[in-house]
Symmetry: C2
Subunit: 151 residues, 2 copies
DNA sequence: TTAGATGCAAAGACTTTGCGCACTT
DNA sequence: AAGTGCGCAAAGTCTTTGCATCTAA
């Protein structure tokens, strides 16, 4: 049975499978990605990689993230005004991004099923479940707004 | 509430109402926004404003867009990897952004009603209908992919 | 008059690219 | 051995900021 293999091994083999080389930097980045929960900016990933291999440069991380994205290993989203965030493709989910406190919450992609069907039917548009990012106001901030207004 | 006044006059009066000054640059930007359909980047808006008043600078346009956004006159979204796009608040809608061809389609915010209810109920998260941007693949690109694969 | 608004230019944040050496295969 | 991949540094976008000047009120 092809159980969910070691995700790290999967990444490396999809690199090899594409005819590219497996290098120190790629291995490190893959390790960091596998060990990571949630979203990380290219800069955060670089810092994490450099803990393991200090000589790896930012530009390499950007190049590798592009490569990994072509291979379908990672996806990135632009959640706010700031840097793009990356995460492994495995975790299919959407993002709720609070405009006030910038907190982001990951939610199951299932929430988008109905919308997805609607958009395909109406516009022929196939929503990408990896990339959904919804802006709004989170529960906590809504409370504080309410409190403020009542005060 | 009164009739939908001249939108330009509304913008200017909300500037005055906030205690700020109405200037040449603000008037021009407001004119351009009102005359504009769809989304424009800060750069496009600057170019358009400069047709009317060549001395208005990019930095001013950025500052004014911030100010207009605070006043609730415009909103901006980050549709893709590129520059943010701005449009008047009046037109409440969502965006479908194609990842292959970068085309963006505006759709009625009503599509998000169900999702919106679901997110409030489940997460206490209030979706901002002005900011919704959904990534995916548009009808045309889906066709060309299909053709390619069959060839 | 006078504090806010602007133009200009420089700085900043994030990302991409050119080049020659190193390392994977 | 051969050519991909890498580090470094510079360049490129998009956006923000400092400051002296100008102007709306």
């Amino acid at each position: 049975m092809s159980e969910p293999l070691d995700p790290l091994a999967e990444i490396l083999s999809s690199i090899r499978g594409s005819g590219r080389r497996v290098t120190e930097a790629k291995r490190r980045l893959a390790e960091v990605l596998v060990a990571t929960t949630g979203h990380r900016t290219a800069d955060e990933l670089t810092t994490a990689v450099q803990v393991l291999s200090p000589e790896v440069s930012t530009s390499t991380v950007y190049r590798l993230l592009d490569e990994f994205e072509e291979l379908g290993v990672v996806v990135h989203s632009h959640l706010g005004h700031a840097a793009a965030v990356y995460h492994l493709t495995g975790t299919v989910h959407g993002h709720l991004v609070c405009q006030r406190c910038e907190a982001t919450v990951e939610i199951p992609a299932a929430h988008f099923d109905a919308l997805s069907r609607e958009l395909v039917t109406t516009y022929g548009f196939m929503l990408d479940r990896h990339h959904v990012a919804i802006s709004g106001t989170c529960a906590r901030c809504r409370e504080s707004v309410a409190v403020t207004e009542h005060a």
